[in-house]
Point group: C2
Chain length 235, copies 2
């Protein structure tokens, strides 16, 4: 086993404020692993044995209902923590994490979390800042689902995805991982049929381009108007 | 100013695992305050100057959208923490907290949070357990909104409220604080009109009784069947 270099994690938000010797100590108990596309990094309700940092790739966090329906809760981009159940006093994972492309992750035994948080307070604080922003994101999602028309919700969802994971291409800004219309439907609480209808309409207007598992926003500013505009009309 | 007795907080989840002298030390920097019905304990986006424990009453956490629409995110019952923005690395409150009945709260200066978490690790851990269960609740809410019909969502909402804040009465289990049909609409992402239609229908079937700002679930088990049943039919 060769050593992991501290440059792997030094720049990441979770490890900000840690000195080199702390980073080295934290890395000593990490394992790096490759997860191939469509494999689970962890499964909902299973024992929270480890926590992770995504180094490369994209991860989909999926929550399943008791009757087997699935909802995409969020996407994780490189540098983000995942599976930090221990930090929230949980012994199981609340959702599943699926690699949407080939991924590289660092894994630590879950039981080390409290030790790390005590030994490196800024690591603990950085983690809770992540938790806070996820809580805030998901509250915003509830508010969107409660107050917005489906067209606005889908527009907001695409705008969030290009902000988080957009890649400038010739056509506009492309979501840089495979995403299906079904995924978008699950994220916005609507049906595949509705997402298809919306994307087709937007494509005709020149707002987006979409293909198999790929979405490009051609004109983000016009999509923003759509995301906000109807809400104002509703007042 | 008279002293606050440690019995005020000794039994609360946030303070579990703390010895008497720790409880006394924590109480020394607390102020107790009374908040009258409909007053804000704190306002969304304002400076997170304090964190709180609700000692008595009921608090509604409300998130407002930029265009002025409101969504009830959750209700807080006695014993729960609120306004713990500092614990999540935030400097402002992500939502407003409104007293739905006369309330008594304990308040601490927000800047004490990191000190407390360091000095009393079980207090920190208890707080994060609360954060974890709120994150889990709100994820469940997103999943419900994404996958359930409106009838199921409203049924689930009422069942959650009687579980959290139910009082056994002659008629059944009454939600023990004033709650309007509009509040229920905001919690479930539907309209006042739909909530009224559902409650009227359920009342005719003898499932619930409702009056001005009051809802009683007469037959929780039949409401549960309704909350789950339709979902199964959808598979």
């Amino acid at each position: 086993m060769h050593r992991l270099d501290r440059s792997l994690i030094a720049g990441l938000p979770a490890f900000q404020g840690l000195d080199d010797s702390s980073l080295d100590a934290i890395l000593q108990s990490a394992s790096s692993l490759r997860v191939t596309k469509d494999q689970a990094i962890f499964d909902q309700d299973s024992d929270a044995h480890s926590f992770f940092v995504l180094l490369d790739g994209r991860v989909q966090v999926v929550k399943s209902t008791p009757d087997g329906q699935q909802v995409v809760v969020r996407y994780i981009v490189p540098g983000e923590l995942l599976g930090i159940a221990q930090a929230l006093g949980r012994t199981t994972y609340p959702a599943s994490a699926i690699a949407v492309v080939d991924c590289v992750v660092l894994a630590w035994p879950g039981k080390l979390w409290p030790e790390f948080a005590t030994a490196y307070p800024s690591f603990g604080m950085n983690t809770y800042r992540t938790v806070g922003s996820r809580l805030s994101d998901i509250q915003a999602q509830v508010v969107e689902m409660a107050t917005e028309q489906v067209e606005q919700r889908v527009a907001h969802c695409l705008l969030r995805l290009i902000k988080q994971s957009g890649k400038q291409t010739n056509d506009g800004i492309t979501i840089d991982f495979p995403i299906s219309r079904q995924d978008i439907a699950e994220m916005t609480g609507t049906t595949l049929h509705t997402v298809s209808r919306l994307l087709t309409g937007w494509e005709e207007k020149g707002l987006v381009k979409s293909g198999r598992q790929q979405v490009t926003v051609v004109e983000p500013s016009r999509l923003s108007v759509l995301a906000e505009g109807t809400a104002r009309d509703n007042i």
